[in-house]
């Protein structure tokens, strides 16, 4: 099918520069994403009456601050576990597997399945009628607990860690590894001195993505945690939906976003976040 003689007025077609396209895209995102976020920030400041920092004082106390601290703690633990598992699998796929395409396909497959379904699958796995209890007799406290949330977050987010590490391992020049062996290094020494340093960019990328997604998770703690495992996302949702306190919910959201942005900007001086996400 050939498109010919499009009825585009001359004036429009000369004005439709690439720059206009950028303006359309950024403008749309600005109106429907950035502006709503800024309005949320204003809401948190009680601009239509009340003390300006009141919501922030509440958000930084009691159950709210513990949920915030807990989120970052869970985020760190999940990131650490995911990096180890992801590195082992990526290493296996790159250097040992026979059918790399297929093995990678199995990693990408869960990407296509919604989070809610995968978290539910884990809940069913550890549920009283599930396969784990059938085999071991009890779920060993792995459901509705800290362990449950960590297992869930790790399982759900793992592909995000495997892919960047895989890409960085894949791009290592095989000649460098051969040279290391030729010069007499064993496989352990080669891994530590050659392969790992060269894959570091992928590891950092994986860590950043895991940390962002894990700390902001709603469904992980909602489906696999107990009452004592609520994270920031859950507290925000409950404050708004059950407590109808959008001012406080906004304040928690802003505090969380500011902390996360600070962490990311600090990292951004080491690696470029945009490049990290483009790696996916």
């Amino acid at each position: 099918m050939i498109v010919k003689n499009l009825p585009i007025p001359k004036r429009l077609s000369t004005r439709m520069t690439s720059r206009t396209l950028v303006v359309i895209g950024l403008g749309w995102l600005g109106v429907f994403f950035i502006v709503p976020l800024l309005m949320l920030a204003m809401t948190s400041l009680n601009l239509d009456g009340g003390a300006v920092w009141e919501n922030y004082a509440v958000a930084l106390s009691g159950v709210y601050i513990s949920a915030i601290v807990r989120s970052f703690y869970y985020g760190l633990v999940t990131t650490a576990i995911s990096l180890i598992l992801a590195y082992a699998l990526a290493y296996y796929i790159v250097f040992y597997s026979e059918n790399e395409r297929f093995m990678l396909g199995l990693v990408i497959l869960p990407f296509w399945v919604a989070y809610i379904i995968r978290y539910l699958g884990i809940q069913l796995f550890f549920s009283p009628n599930g396969p784990f209890v059938d085999v071991f007799g009890s779920n060993m406290g792995l459901l509705f607990s800290t362990e449950g949330v960590i297992i869930g977050l790790t399982s759900a987010l793992l592909p995000f860690a495997i892919l960047p590490i895989y890409n960085s391992l894949k791009s290592i020049d095989q000649e460098l590894i051969n040279a290391s062996y030729t010069l007499g290094a064993g496989s352990y020494r080669t891994l530590v001195s050659i392969i790992f340093p060269l894959s570091l960019s992928g590891v950092v990328a994986a860590a950043i993505i895991e940390f962002i997604l894990a700390t902001g998770s709603f469904l992980g703690p909602a489906l696999l945690g107990g009452p004592g495992n609520t994270m920031i996302a859950n507290i925000i949702a409950t404050t708004f939906r059950a407590g109808f306190n959008i001012e406080l919910a906004s304040a928690i959201a802003i505090i969380y976003t500011v902390i996360l942005t600070t962490v990311l900007v600090t990292f951004n001086s080491v690696v470029n976040i945009g490049e990290v996400l483009s790696d996916l």
Binding site: L21, V22, L109, I116, Q123, L124, L219, A249
Partner: protein
């Protein structure tokens, strides 16, 4: 040396099998438990049953939600696909100041927790008098899926050979015609793939969606979440398996288009 390599290989293999289990067991458990003949979600060991799928068919509220979810996902994939492609074009083809920073801005919806996006949008929709429901959900899903389309199409455009466009121009076609006749067909597998991803993300999104749905317009993930709150039963597994089916079809189409 060979025994050493053998040991390391089998050690790594067992770790790999474990990691694959962590990745895939949740999905397998959902699918298997949907075929149980018993009234609670167990892995069927003696015979399978389709009664939970039949029960789905009789639930008109569910069928309605499935329709709503599909329509929302279709709208999202079109709006997000169009906007994302337009923006990727702009970014690849123009020299604007702060290009890197601005393109990172396009990825912001991936970094902000969807709870915050949902909260911000429900507030915004309320003030614009759009209210919650269909339009609000499509807007929210477009925001959430835009980065995927942008990233995928941009990566494709960066490697696109612009000589092809020049050839079209030399042969007399205008700039816009060249883009429609040459560039878009060449990058179309990537665009289609990114639209399928937008479709699937929208179809399964819950966290932001829970704020944006109205009682008349509910999506399947919201129903699944509500169902899990009132106890697990095999019908939830059956419904989830239907969703997995739709998502796998999308993945398959994406794979075929990109061969």
């Amino acid at each position: 040396m060979t025994t050493d390599r053998f040991l390391r290989r089998s050690g790594l293999l067992s770790v790999a099998v474990f990691v694959y289990a962590v990745l895939l067991v949740p999905i397998v458990v959902i699918i298997l438990t949907s075929f149980t003949p018993r009234p609670f979600p167990t892995i069927p060991t003696r015979g399978i049953s389709f009664e939970w799928y039949l029960a789905l068919l009789e639930n008109s509220q569910l069928i309605g939600a499935l329709g709503v979810s599909l329509v929302i996902a279709a709208f999202t994939s079109v709006t997000s696909g169009t906007l994302g492609t337009i923006t990727a074009f702009g970014f690849v083809r123009s020299d604007i100041p702060y290009k890197e920073t601005l393109s990172t801005l396009m990825l912001l919806p991936l970094m902000i927790s969807p709870v915050i996006t949902g909260l911000a949008l429900v507030r915004f929709a309320g003030q614009l008098r759009i209210g919650s429901g269909f339009v609000a959900v499509v807007l929210g899903h477009t925001v959430l899926t835009l980065p995927y389309v942008f990233l995928i199409v941009r990566a494709e455009l960066v490697t696109f050979d612009r000589e092809l466009e020049s050839a079209s121009r030399i042969l007399g076609a205008g700039p816009v015609e060249s883009v429609f006749n040459i560039t878009l067909p060449v990058i179309s597998p990537a665009v289609i793939s990114s639209m399928l991803i937008a479709f699937v993300v929208s179809f399964g999104e819950f966290t932001a969606t829970q704020f944006l749905v109205s009682s008349g317009t509910t999506t399947v993930p919201v129903i699944i979440y509500t169902m899990t709150r009132s106890g697990l039963n095999p019908q939830i597994s059956a419904l989830s398996t239907v969703l997995i089916g739709v998502m796998f079809v999308a993945a398959l189409v994406s794979g075929l288009v990109n061969r």
